[in-house]
């Protein structure tokens, strides 16, 4: 990252005398944002950390009683919570792998001499810009067993996508793949177009096969950017709530965010849900840390 050196003003100069010092300006520009984020992001988290050691229920007037680590102990020993994590993991793997295959595949196709490439790329990027909640809603129409166009187009008769416990999670993942493959495609395209042309020319002179060229030139050079896409999508898929919540209510699609939402706002087990939120939070921070380290590494090149 470029380190900008502060321009020091000659203290006797006219502008230094008239204006605020750089130090004041720096503080004026930065501190409000930091304070805002601490007040509205960190303070609430401390607040819920406190509640996570209590049996507080927001729906009752009973005061919170300190229960120590009981919430954490119970959650970590609860097989249902672990099954929610397992569902989340399955969802993350299916949807991220799907997105990488489709997204990178389409990027490879687009990385050729395609007429109207700019327009087609923009059109392909449209799904990821839409609201996940609303996308979930209209995919319900598409998945409908009797009049949905998916069953009609694929000739599946009245196949149940969303009310079939074995299929529902895949249906949510398919929608997620539709929505977010464009993201992987966008990043892959950037990586592909940065591969120096002369490498391919050299490979052609050496009569390298296209298989060899792909695995020895294209893939290694695109890998860092592809990795950014993968980590980013993993993080987002881990947090997923909207799509699965709107598309189905099958127990087999109860990812961890949905469990957390139900625990907090339907069962009103506030204290316990705060503890679960902390368990999720620690996992997210770990992935974020990997992500940022990787970003900085890629940026340095």
């Amino acid at each position: 990252m470029a380190t900008a050196v502060m321009t020091t003003l000659d203290p006797k100069s006219r502008s230094a005398a008239r204006g605020m010092s750089d130090l004041t300006i720096r503080n004026l520009f930065i501190i409000p944002t930091i304070v805002f984020l601490i007040v509205f992001n960190i303070f609430p988290l401390l607040y819920s950390l406190g509640y996570s050691f209590t049996d507080f229920r927001a729906s009752s007037a009973a005061p919170a009683t300190f229960v120590g680590l009981q919430n954490y102990r119970e959650l970590l020993n609860d097989p249902f919570i672990w099954s929610n994590f397992a569902i989340t993991a399955k969802y993350v793997i299916v949807s991220v792998v799907g997105q990488v295959i489709v997204g990178f595949g389409v990027a490879l196709l687009l990385n050729r001499d395609i007429p109207l490439k700019g327009l087609l790329t923009t059109l392909l990027l449209l799904p990821m810009m839409l609201s996940m909640a609303v996308v979930g809603l209209f995919w319900k129409l598409l998945y409908d067993p009797s009049f949905g166009i998916i069953n009609y187009t694929l000739g599946l008769g009245s196949f149940e996508w969303l009310s079939n416990p074995d299929m529902a999670l895949y249906a949510v993942a398919i929608t997620d793949i539709w929505m977010w493959s464009p993201f992987v495609m966008l990043l892959s395209l950037a990586g592909l177009s940065a591969v120096p042309k002369h490498l391919y020319e050299a490979a052609a002179i050496d009569r390298a096969g296209s298989f060899y060229t792909f695995f020895r030139i294209t893939l290694p050079l695109v890998a860092p950017i592809l990795m950014i896409a993968i980590i980013f999508r993993t993080m987002e898929a881990f947090k997923t709530f909207d799509l699965a919540y709107i598309l189905t209510s099958q127990p087999t699609t109860e990812v961890i965010s949905i469990r957390l939402y139900k625990m907090a706002f339907q069962e009103w087990q506030t204290g316990r849900s705060c503890a679960l939120a902390y368990i999720v939070l620690i996992m997210i921070l770990a992935i974020t840390n990997i992500y940022v380290k990787y970003l900085n590494k890629v940026k340095e090149r």
Partner: protein, 319 residues
Amino acid sequence: MAAVTTSAERSLNKLAIVGVLIVTIIFLAPIYWIASTAFKPRNLATTIPPTVVFQPEISPFVKLFTKRSQLRTAPTPEQYAAAPWWERLVFDGGEKVVRSGRGEVQWSGYPSRFMNSLIVAITSTILAVGMGTFTAYGFSRFKIKGEQDLLFFILSTRMLPPVVVAIPMFLMYRAVGLNDTHWGLIILYTAFNLSFSVWLMKGFMDEIPKEYEEAALVDGYTRMEAFFKIVLPEAATGIAATAVFCFITAWNEYAFALIMTNRRAQTAPPFIPSQVGSGLSDWTVIAAGTFLFLLPVAIFTFLLRNHLLRGMSFGAIRK
């Protein structure tokens, strides 16, 4: 040799073009389908086989904005003749527009949700981009102790899952009466977008040569004057792109809105899906609501097309 490669290359290229076209059609089909359903007569929305060719209608949009009830008896010819064109469309669908005692047309829940979405998204965008621009300039131009850690801190606030933040925020908002208010959502969305706006704007600021300001400082400008008169105009494109990204994020947000609002300040994303009932739901009206809601984002995507890469990667990848 060379000729062979080119002809092989050419046929490969043709294959790629066909492939891209097929993929584009598959990717756009769902969007086309919801958009076309918004213009269908109700009886053609859920047919088997699906109706592709039809006479487009505007009636789903009329129904979207008005409160309606089932017609028990057909309107008399006089009633029908006296009704404005849009009310006739509702009559044709076997429903009537609900009017108040004084004969005023009753609105559906949609327009107010759409307005709420606009108010919340626009206000939070202005706040997030405003603060983000200043902060990004600070990070870009001044030496800051622990800069990397601060930037990581700022980014990490964005990565928190909405439901995790929503639990304590819900309790705090309940205590101070911010639940189901515009400001409640605006604060949450500003906090959410602020980190994004700092990261993205920092990238744009880094690209503005600092020699520009230095020249201005030498000419007797104060640092503030240099910032407002030299840096801000240079950063205009970046600010605009950041603003559009923030707007789209706030516009699309669902989880916070679901938890923090229920009526007065409810935005469109939790409202639109709540309209789907069991079996009887009128998909043309839902599609019309969806279509209107997605339209601004579709337009913005085209305006943003050259910034999408940078925006979606938090400014990490630039071109």
